[in-house]
């Protein structure tokens, strides 16, 4: 198959949430000697960008976005072990999770998918992530960003405690801290000393890239 049609096919797999074909398509691309970074950027990520647009416009909703993300991850799973990282081009590290006491993680997972598509290395702590996990993982991976999400008002305090913990470890100034979720606001972000508040996954991605630029 010509390179472009493999790329188009992979983008289409992401758009339609076709997980098995994304995986086999990614393998086919490797077998045909294609550059894995090119396949990721112009196949998988291109498809995910279309999905993101459609979600923003409410042409599709979360189930479709989640299926698309799974297809993207399936393809990435095949391709990323073959990536060559040039010195000075190491990707930035994002520690992301839903805070302790909250098991809602849909929004966080969409942000993770979008930032993965944008080229960031994501360290996903999952949901109900203890405060210490955010801090320890940030230290261990040399995080550039720590992003926290919650859907519940009772658990918002955990975000404050993570920021305090990063300060105690002496790494706060090197990290951009972002917060999001339904009960979160710019005012809350400012109150707790976080750096970035995003209303949705698209804003989270754009603001992250703007900080990085």
């Amino acid at each position: 198959m010509a390179d472009n049609s493999i790329l188009d096919s992979l983008a289409e797999c992401v758009k339609t949430g076709d997980i098995p074909t994304a995986e086999s398509g990614a393998q086919q691309a490797l077998d045909e000697g294609m550059d894995p970074l090119d396949v990721i950027n112009n196949g998988l990520i291109k498809g995910m960008a279309v999905v993101g647009d459609r979600y923003d416009k409410r042409e599709i909703y979360l189930p479709q976005v989640l299926m698309a993300a799974e297809a993207m991850y399936a393809g990435l799973g095949v391709l990323t072990p073959h990536l060559k990282v040039e010195p000075g081009q190491e990707p930035k590290h994002v520690v992301i999770g839903t805070v302790e006491g909250d098991t809602h993680d849909i929004g966080k997972n969409i942000v993770k998918a979008m930032l993965t598509a944008a080229g960031y290395t994501m360290h996903d702590l999952g949901n109900d992530a203890p405060v210490t996990d955010f801090i320890e993982t940030a230290k261990d991976v040399g995080a550039d960003f720590v992003y926290m999400s919650t859907l519940m008002t009772p658990t918002m305090d955990a975000m404050n405690r993570v920021i305090d913990g990063l300060k105690e470890e002496g790494i706060r100034s090197a990290i951009t801290v972002g917060v999001g979720g339904a009960p979160i606001s710019q005012e809350f972000c400012d109150d707790i000393g976080a750096d970035l508040y995003a209303l949705n996954a698209r804003e989270a991605t754009e603001r992250t890239k703007a900080i990085d630029a």
Partner: protein, 367 residues
């Protein structure tokens, strides 16, 4: 407690009937936070009927609001159906991991638990019964129950359910029908214990998560209406709470016809209705339960809380006047008052006091 012209029940019923009132009702969804008045931990609050009742009654007596909303947490049904639930000492219980559903047939194997002693459903029922013994018919007692789709996402995990809408919709439908039966059993027990009405939480009917087609297929067309019809057969009031951004209001208000609709306004989200907009659009169909940011109770100064409450009274008055209505609105928070230890209890008092103080002035424009 109050020397007002109407008692809480009189005011609430008059508001539902769009009759003149002395002032609009106020109901700051203070639930678990009330445990701090009786010196129990959250875990103690959420673990027994006495825990619930002691807290709910203490809050009502302390602040004198017009409805007791009996929210435990959103893991009651899932816990009684076998899910792992974590019970932090001072935070809301949460269902862990969605481990109940590992394969499609697990959806089909779900069973309706009975509301027996030892279950968390029993505890909430006991909480209602004890509360009703203590408050009688002076104030509405309205327990909250997870709707079928919400309970399913607690059992299986939200992401799994959303993707299984594609992968195995038939299995989901079977599980949802089982959860309708769970809701019926639970609601019946709550009504028999004395609840004046039931607040159904239909959280997933929101445009940030589901479009019309999928919400209607997996809750809106069949499952929620079946629960709602059962509540009507029980002769009990039916309220919907949905604090998600961009709820499916046409479905959940115009189609489902709840007596009261509780929602939250998100000023930064386009399309999120203000108090006045909600009343103008839906005030003839339901009593709108107002909507301000629950974080005000945590971070707001006294002046900010007072101002936000008066703003809501003003917006509601304008909306009601323009809609040709008299009293179909209740001042409230858009979601539960955060039960965190950092919540400033004085702010609950300020909200209620502001409504008592200024409410009559605004109501005079409407009666």
């Amino acid at each position: 407690m109050t020397t007002e012209e109407m008692n809480c029940m009189e005011r609430a019923l008059a508001s539902v009937g769009n009759q003149p009132v002395d002032r609009l009702p106020v109901a700051p969804l203070a639930c678990g936070v009330n445990r701090r008045l009786v010196g129990t931990t959250y875990r103690e609050y959420a673990s027994s009927g006495e825990g619930y009742a002691d807290a709910w009654v203490a809050g009502w007596k302390e602040w004198g609001y017009d409805a007791i909303v009996g929210l435990g947490d959103l893991s009651i049904i899932s816990g009684d159906m076998g899910a792992d639930v974590k019970y932090p000492e001072e935070n809301t219980p949460t269902t862990i991991g969605g481990g109940m559903i590992k394969e499609d047939d697990d959806y089909r194997r779900l069973k309706v638990p009975q509301v027996n002693k030892g279950t968390r459903m029993w505890d909430l029922v006991e909480g209602v019964r004890l509360t009703k013994e203590r408050v009688g018919d002076e104030v509405l007692v309205l327990p909250l129950v997870e709707g079928p789709l919400l309970a399913l996402t607690q059992l299986a995990g939200t992401e799994k359910v959303l993707m299984d809408m594609y992968r195995c919709p038939d299995a989901l439908h079977e599980a949802l029908q089982t959860l309708v039966e769970v809701d019926k059993v639970f609601c019946q027990a709550l009504v028999e214990a004395g609840a004046h009405g039931i607040v159904m939480d239909y959280l997933w009917g929101n445009y940030s998560c589901l479009g019309d087609d999928q919400y209607m297929e997996f809750e809106g067309t069949k499952y929620a209406p079946e629960v709602n019809a059962f509540l009507a057969e029980l002769g009990t009031a039916f309220v919907i709470h949905n604090c998600a951004d961009l709820p499916h209001l046409d479905t959940q208000i115009s189609a489902m016809k709840p007596l009261v609709y509780s929602y939250c306004t998100y000023p930064d989200i386009e399309g999120s209705l203000t108090t006045k907009e909600a009343i103008l659009k839906y005030g003839h169909e339901t009593v709108v339960l107002g909507n301000y940011d629950p974080q005000l109770f945590v971070r707001g100064t006294a002046e900010e809380v007072r101002r936000a409450t008066e703003d809501m009274l003003r917006d509601a008055t304008e909306g009601l006047k323009e809609a040709g209505l008299v009293s179909r609105f209740c001042v409230a928070s858009g979601c539960e008052v955060p039960p965190a230890l950092s919540t400033n209890l004085d702010n609950i008092k300020i909200m209620c006091d502001t409504v008592r103080e200024l409410g009559p002035k605004y109501q005079a424009q409407l009666n």
